[in-house]
Symmetry: C2
Subunit: 150 residues, 2 copies
DNA sequence: GCTTGTTAGTTACAAAATCAACTATTACTC
DNA sequence: GAGTAATAGTTGATTTTGTAACTAACAAGC
């Protein structure tokens, strides 16, 4: 095991740099949950996100999902194709505006969604339990501000 | 937040799901900062991370960096090659264990590091200013716990 | 109507991340 | 000390993402 030089060259503290901290926390949180949707259903993060949005909000267009999840349209296009291919969702052309299509989960997709939603809720509760109620609420609030969601 | 389960469009709240929130906040924070090291020096996130670790901690091996930054060794290997090619770092074989090599910034690399460190510090201050001192400290503390860094 | 501009979504190609296999060296075991 | 396992780091193949160009449909101005 090699030895890390411990004298600091300056006073900048990487362990407290917010983008770094956010990234580390985010990676860790995503990774653990990822193993569930990947292991159980062979899904990627993009596919899980699309599935969740449809499960939560019902019918949406790809554009709607992109705006909500801040995902690029090519990612969504590919995720939708994959989910359709696995018969988790169906597309319906919008007859009023034939460029757009409405996406909705099939019964099979809804089953998968409900399963993952439960895992997600439990996982979220586990993460939250690292803090007391007040702290957890404040954390969510601060993250929403940082994310520009408030 | 409601605790009542309903069947259709249920009460699971994606906007409050921690992995999602962490991801959104992290992406936003990284993206803005990325434009600096990418625009100014054409660096990738992996390269910036390696540079920062070396700037902060002085000489390290690739393995050390991997453990600190939780980056996979292939990412590091490629980032190191790129930084070396740009003459931002030099490698020195460890004569006691000839498998390992010590990495250190060149003067040119240190100049780049100092520039980016200043930008980073300013950016961090700007993010932190969204909250009061107490909140910001708590946020960092909570993120460290979530990241498993404490 | 026709031209021009915009939007929803897809596709092709390039860049990057991931995973597995590889080399070289050191450590362990008998 | 020979043989096997483990470790530092690299390389190549595959998968995923990002960027730009594309198709098809609508919209607005004239």
């Amino acid at each position: 095991m090699s030895h890390v030089q411990s004298e600091k060259n300056d006073d900048f503290d990487l362990q407290n740099f917010l983008p770094f901290l956010l990234n580390q926390a985010s990676e860790r949180a995503s990774l653990e949950f990822q193993s569930v949707y990947k292991g159980r259903y062979g899904m990627l993060r993009t596919e899980w996100r699309v599935l969740f949005h449809l499960g939560l909000f019902g019918e949406m267009t790809a554009k709607d999902i992109g705006e909500r999840a801040k995902m690029h349209k090519t990612k969504i296009s590919r995720a939708v194709a994959k989910l359709e291919q696995r018969r988790y969702l169906k597309r319906t052309r919008d007859e009023a505006d034939r460029r757009a299509e409405w996406l909705a989960l099939t019964p099979a997709g809804q089953t998968v969604y409900r399963d993952l939603r439960n895992v997600a809720a439990n996982y979220d509760a586990r993460l939250s339990s690292l803090f007391n109620e007040e702290e957890a609420a404040l954390l969510r609030h601060m993250l929403q501000r940082l994310a520009g969601l408030d």
